[in-house]
Amino acid sequence: MQIFETIGEMLSFTFMIRAIVVGLLVSLCAALLGVSLVLKRYAMIGTGLSNVGFAAMVIAGVIDVAPLALSIPVVVVTAFLLLRMNESSKIKGDSAVALISTSGLAVGVIVMGVTTGITLSICNILFGSIFAMTAADMYLSIALSAVVIIIFVLFYKQLYAVTYDESFARATGTKVEVYKSMLALLTAVTVVLGMRMMGALLIASLTLFPALSAMRICKRFLSVVIASAVIGVVCFFVGMVFSFALDLPPGATVVGVNLVVFTIFSVVTFVRQRGLR
């Protein structure tokens, strides 16, 4: 079988194994969190965070510190800021995200402009690279993804309650702000972890597509969450295989596979609903 040979060959490269391990975990985290993000209309937060992450990565490259060490705290702080701005009525949520996201991009580009002779590839930061992972990065990513997944599972019922009906949750004594912050924090960590491989411009789609596809076919919240996780993980792996076999950029290929799945699910649902009437 041609396909298994390709996969076997792919897994013979250490950098590929690292990329796939981290990518699968990040896809899983992103797909789980994505359900709440999409349903709570927080979908744009991922985009805002990844652009700020871009700036952090550039600065980390310039001042020569480990990219994750700088970008994780910066993006986490941004996530809290975005939530605060979302709450305050002065700046509307979507403008807040657009503000922060374009500012992040601008800061990154300016820093690149003023520093001459840096070795960063802007293309790699924006669109991702599978060569980005060192062994240490991989272990850190595994640990952090595990934390994200464990917190998600432990606080699943709170996340459901806050996603479904925030004011009921608040009225009956649930600390809504805590869980919203938790969601933002977990999203921030996931975005940073996935950014270097998927690219700053593409990572946010990992939180959107699987959840949106899952919502086409599932009616229970739990089934949506599970389907989203499965779709996210499968699409990532399929995307990597394609990217390897056809020599395409990995981040974009994974997004492409997600887009195809979403389109198929949408068409099938549409036809089925038409057929029933």
Partner: protein, 236 residues
């Protein structure tokens, strides 16, 4: 000691006062019915009682160790989105969150309570149905089951019978009354249906952007405002 004491409270949206002069209290086993025309500030007051809104002036105190986690609530309009993918059972059991607290997952007691409340409201057969595909009346009963799951000491209901047919409405009042008698849970209900309100409630709070009556239901029936309102029946 009363569960809720409201002293001279007023509520405002962006400095525009919508209801004021609120002086009343709710004790254990009380059944308070809040009446008044549309826009008279009933829902606003309920948001205040739930702590979703702060009083502009005055105070709302809770007594008898009442905590938010002991309150059940049926909103007039659910703030949840119409097309949210969730099953009936998921909605109902989410009412148990406040008693479960930060312990992970729901216990078998939580599941039992959810099933019991669904049984009580006749929605057990809908358990696996998708919430958004139910009729308005069915959705109302699902949200009531969720409220019952959350209730330990006080149950707040905002226009619970609107959208229910007469038979279900009668059953509904019966269920609430039985609940109060058996468990001593205090009921605070906003209702358009003054007649049933006076029939079941122990006390009445009448709002007209300010408090125009608070007292026992029997007294309300004899009062000017009560007689006028009951005669009018329907009011807008």
């Amino acid at each position: 000691m009363a569960l809720i004491i409201c002293r001279d409270a007023a509520f405002a949206y962006e400095n525009k006062i919508v209801v004021e002069g609120l002086n009343f209290q709710v004790g254990q086993k009380d059944y308070l019915c809040i009446v008044g025309e549309n826009g008279s500030g009933k829902t606003t007051l309920m948001k205040g009682l739930l702590g979703l809104m702060r009083p502009k002036s005055g105070t709302i105190e809770t007594g008898d160790g009442l905590k938010p986690t002991q309150i059940g609530y049926l909103p007039q309009q659910t703030s949840a989105q119409k097309d949210f993918p969730t099953s009936v059972y998921e909605v109902v059991i989410s009412g148990r969150l406040s008693s479960r607290g930060i312990l992970p997952f729901y216990s078998w007691r939580d599941h039992e309570a959810a099933l019991e409340n669904m049984e009580k409201l006749g929605i057990l057969p809908l358990k696996k149905k998708s919430f958004k595909e139910l009729s308005g009346g069915q959705q109302q009963r699902v949200l009531l089951a969720r409220a019952l799951c959350a209730t330990k000491k006080v149950l707040l209901l905002d226009e619970p019978v609107s959208g229910l047919d007469p038979v279900v409405t009668a059953e509904f009042y019966h269920t609430i009354e039985a609940l109060r008698r058996e468990t001593g849970i205090a009921i605070i209900m906003i209702s358009h249906d003054v007649r049933s309100g006076v029939e079941y409630a122990t006390s009445i709070l009448h709002l007209q952007n300010r408090q125009v009556f608070f007292g026992p239901a029997d007294e309300y029936k004899e009062s000017d405002v009560g007689r006028y309102f009951l005669r009018g029946g329907e009011f807008r």
